[in-house]
């Protein structure tokens, strides 16, 4: 019995040295992390609210006309955002026309067609491209891309397609087409990497079934993989569109910054994001600032809708890599 008593004594000494657990600590930490997580809700509301109160007078004054008129005259306090909306949509569309085929083809190359040893390095390079800051791409756009475009591809396009309204008129250099091209470079990494994820999540069974029927590599890719992943790839494209619409620095540096609606892609344009970047600090009157806030609101509204759509499309397919097992 003496042994048992000494054990009991020792137990007390070890267990008694430990601090008594506090439920407060657990509760406090949970609430703290919850408060931080709710930041994402607060931020969304904050953006919407700040843009709304910043532009409420302009919204009242111009109403719907703001979106459909094209006079942008700060001196006369006439503000119509149509040229910027037009420029944003057209430049993003050009970007998608270039980036979607290239991005999806590259994603297919990375997951299906490329030799295995090349896949990882290539993926890393694409991630590096994504890491280049927008302003640096803009710098390169001004001093390298535009002079080259002006000297070689643009005249060639004009010779071939000059009879259409899209490629007519004089070639300046900075223009809608240059803006679209630079945006394409900016969104290529995201379209490629999201598409790659989508294609990777296509079950191998799909490929095996196609190969089992005697399909060539391309046929298997086209029939079994690409068509299977159609919806996800569409999500990737929409996500790219969301980024394209909000792209600011690079496009501001090459698009020419002229608020006009012109058919020719060789003419300068202007986007919602660019006008904010260029004119915000120059807004001298209250109404001018109000109008710019409203531009911000329009841009936020468009991108949030596009992003919602993209997330919904991707959500249904996205395989959460880490769904935690219950136990």
């Amino acid at each position: 019995m003496a042994v048992a008593a000494s054990i009991a004594g020792e137990e007390r000494s070890v267990q008694a040295r430990m601090a008594s657990p506090s439920r407060f600590g657990d509760k406090a930490f949970e609430w703290l992390t919850l408060a931080m997580a709710l930041a994402v809700v607060v931020l969304i509301i904050l953006i919407g609210w700040q843009l709304w109160i910043g532009s409420s007078v302009a919204i009242k004054k111009f109403g719907f006309h703001f979106l459909v008129t094209s006079t942008w005259d700060p001196v006369a306090e006439q503000f119509g955002a149509l040229p910027f909306i037009y420029g944003t949509l057209v430049s993003s569309l050009i970007a998608l026309l270039i980036a979607v085929p290239l991005g999806i083809a590259t994603a297919a190359y990375l997951t299906e067609l490329a030799p295995l040893w090349i896949r990882q390095p290539l993926t890393s390079l694409i991630e590096m491209l994504a890491a280049i800051p927008s302003v640096i791409l803009g710098l390169w756009g001004i001093f390298v891309m535009i002079p080259w475009l002006r000297d070689y591809p643009f005249p060639w396009l004009k010779r071939l397609f000059g009879w259409t309204p899209f490629f007519s008129g004089p070639i300046y250099g900075p223009c809608m087409l240059a803006g679209g091209i630079i945006i394409a470079v900016m969104i290529l990494p995201i379209i490629t990497s999201v598409s790659r994820e989508i294609l990777r999540s296509v079950p191998d069974l799909q490929r095996e079934a196609a190969y089992g029927l005697g399909a060539t590599r391309w046929e298997a890719t086209r029939i079994a993989v690409l068509s299977y992943a159609k919806k996800g790839l569409f999500g990737a494209v929409i996500l790219g569109l969301g980024r394209a619409l909000g792209e600011t620095m690079a496009v501001t540096m090459v698009i020419g910054n002229t608020p006009q609606i012109a058919a020719s892609l060789f003419k300068p344009g202007y986007t919602l994001a660019s006008v904010l970047a260029n004119e915000f600090t120059e807004a001298t009157t209250d109404m001018y600032l109000q109008a710019l806030f409203e531009i911000g609101l329009v841009l936020f509204g468009i991108t949030i809708l596009v992003n919602l759509l993209a997330q919904l499309l991707l959500r249904t397919i996205a395989t959460t890599s880490a769904t935690r097992a219950v136990q």
């Binding site: 931080m36 994402v40 700040q50 991630e127 640096i136 390169w140 399909a215 391309w218």
Partner: protein, 286 residues
């Protein structure tokens, strides 16, 4: 594919090879800008990089020389401020999603974080302008840091959540079975185990906002001189590059290239560091 299998086979093989070739050319076109940009950065920027660039203030208009010392320091100051805001909120928020939140709350929060990640960075500039610059009557370091910090929150939140979910449940159970409280288990065991991944996410977020210009245009605003107070405008590398790039002076263009080379080198270094970190990470945790 079903009927004329043998007859068309050669043509089909050719088609397949052709498709592979087109896909390969696409991949080359996608990464071509990376190579071209880097090439031109080195060619145009390296010659203007010298000791003065890192130690001197910008030269007055017309004068040759000068540097971007204030912009480099300014960028670091802004990043420190942004980190002070974005890191704690992002990391702890990610912890909530991974450790506490119910499936329904999580899917909403995750969704909103992804949507936030898609908000154009210039929008943050406008919002912070309204919140801080208008209210406190002036551009400031605070405003710039806040704008960058807010951008970091959803980025860090998502990566933190992901890496914490990768920590095997066995470690949580082992700690809880020792009578350790839940929050200490999370902080000392789970977050420590996932620390490499969390740091990776933070570094990537810093590299991302370190290259941001748009949110700084009307918050930090830029400054040709040293900044002596956080309530004053401050220079930042990307801002300075932008200002110089759209200026009409050749010397400023050279400075812009040099600044861009420095900025890209910094961003790439972080990316490479992250790659090295994650290599160890996948070996030890997953």
């Amino acid at each position: 594919m079903k009927t004329k299998r043998s007859g068309n086979y050669t043509w089909r093989k050719i088609k397949s090879a052709l498709a592979s070739a087109i896909a390969f050319i696409s991949a080359v076109l996608v990464i071509a800008p990376l190579g071209l940009v880097f090439f031109h950065l080195v060619v145009n920027g390296a010659s203007s990089l010298n000791w003065d660039f890192f130690t001197k203030l910008p030269a007055p208009v017309g004068a040759v020389g000068g540097g971007m010392a204030n912009a480099i320091v300014g960028s670091l100051e802004l990043l420190a401020l942004a980190g002070a805001i974005g890191i704690p909120i992002g990391v702890l928020g990610g912890v909530y999603l991974a450790e506490y939140g119910s499936a329904r709350i999580n899917s909403v929060l995750r969704f909103l974080a992804d949507v936030l990640n898609g908000v154009p960075s210039i929008t943050w500039g406008v919002v912070v302008y309204g919140m801080v610059v208008l209210r406190f009557k002036g551009f400031s370091t605070y405003a710039g840091g806040l704008a960058l910090g807010l951008i970091m929150i959803p980025l860090i939140l998502r990566t933190t959540e992901e890496v914490i979910l990768l920590v095997p449940n066995g470690y949580r159970e082992a700690a809880l079975a020792l009578g350790v409280s839940r929050w200490k288990t999370i902080v000392h065991i789970v977050m420590k185990t996932a620390s490499k991944g969390i740091i990776t996410g933070i570094l990537l977020a810093l590299a991302r906002v370190g290259g941001e210009t748009a949110p700084l245009l009307f918050t930090a605003f830029g400054n040709r001189f040293w900044n002596h107070s956080l309530s004053q405008p401050i220079a930042a590398l990307p801002l300075q590059i932008f200002t110089y790039a759209i200026s009409p002076y050749d010397d400023w263009h050279r400075q812009a290239w040099a600044g861009a080379l420095v900025l890209v080198t910094g961003v790439f270094c972080v990316n490479i560091l992250v790659r090295i970190l994650t290599r160890g990470h996948t070996a030890s945790v997953v």
